[in-house]
Subunit: 226 residues, 2 copies
Amino acid sequence: MTARSSSAFNEATEVPEVVVERLPQYVRALTRLSQQGVAVVSSQQLGDLIQVTPAQIRKDLSYFGRFGKQGRGYSVKYLLGELRRILGLDREWRVGLIGVGRLGRAILSYPGFAPEGFKIVAAFDADPRQVGQMVAGIMVQPMHRLGEAVHELGIGIAIVAVPASQVQEVVDQLVACDVRAIVNYAPVTAQVPSLVRVRNIDPVMALQSMTYYLTTPQGSTRTGGK
Amino acid sequence: MTARSSSAFNEATEVPEVVVERLPQYVRALTRLSQQGVAVVSSQQLGDLIQVTPAQIRKDLSYFGRFGKQGRGYSVKYLLGELRRILGLDREWRVGLIGVGRLGRAILSYPGFAPEGFKIVAAFDADPRQVGQMVAGIMVQPMHRLGEAVHELGIGIAIVAVPASQVQEVVDQLVACDVRAIVNYAPVTAQVPSLVRVRNIDPVMALQSMTYYLTTPQGSTRTGGK
């Protein structure tokens, strides 16, 4: 999976991917605390925010170093800064969008990416009718421009918003252009080499976390515990 | 990970929403164990699978009752069955899809919902050109049929795949029809009453969990370790 090689970290430790996937939640909670002017947070308090035990928080963070002194809590600003640095969120990432259909257009217009450091700098579509159009200030380019644009613009991440039937082909093209991080919106799983990360939007998990509320009368309590 | 809830915590219910949101991960891990023929799992082993401490697992599960005997582990089959029952996954859910554009069509054709108990039984679109078309065996209906169809077909959940600009209007219509669980694919947040759950597809969190790998040398490219 991955290994830190900086001397600040334990070189032998591979960080499990599920731990990496949790860190953005920590960043979100710490950002909120920081905005509220909170200077120091205990693992208990941080855990309450994201409903994780203090031990879990300490274990997750231990993969990356030591961030607090026993019994004194974490400096919100320092921990947030370190986690952002570790996750690579302290810089701007240039993102390419593939597929400028309805969803792609909504993604291009979404105001939530740029403040988080993800700047969509190029858009591509296989449909000649889309090519040349301006969408949210970006001109749609043909797919054959992908490789050149990725290298010229320093695109490190792609968002794929093409129909399911086209996903594997598009992902293959991205991989061939050295793009190693892909968010895929279509409900299919693409095959990629092990060095490439794909995050599929997973609607089943989203559905599975809501049926609880349809099953459990609101305000009623435990459903198990005898 | 890919979906975020509209509120982190609902005070009306005893179980924190973030705990409910984690349970599908438990279900997925237990399903895998069950398929492998594993009969009993300790909280340590289960925790290893999803990289959660044993204490966290015990705490999460304690909201719902007692599922194992101290020192004897959990019966995989029993715990899986109970969690599926608690989450309401032991029945079929009828799902309505709103928006039959490119994304909506991909969702209708996705083979991953039905095996998990989510059956898309109706599709709706505001565009008269879509209405009457058959997509993946389902005839697209006009939006004014929504209320009737929801009640006739027992639709409890909606998947919204409309352009961002139409999301709030569609969500309002769904809420008016008593749909209380909505997955929204567009990158905007809809306002809903507190009894309604919305899971937004959250591309920022997905992006934030990948930049780690772009920042950190890994695998064969791991040349930085001195």
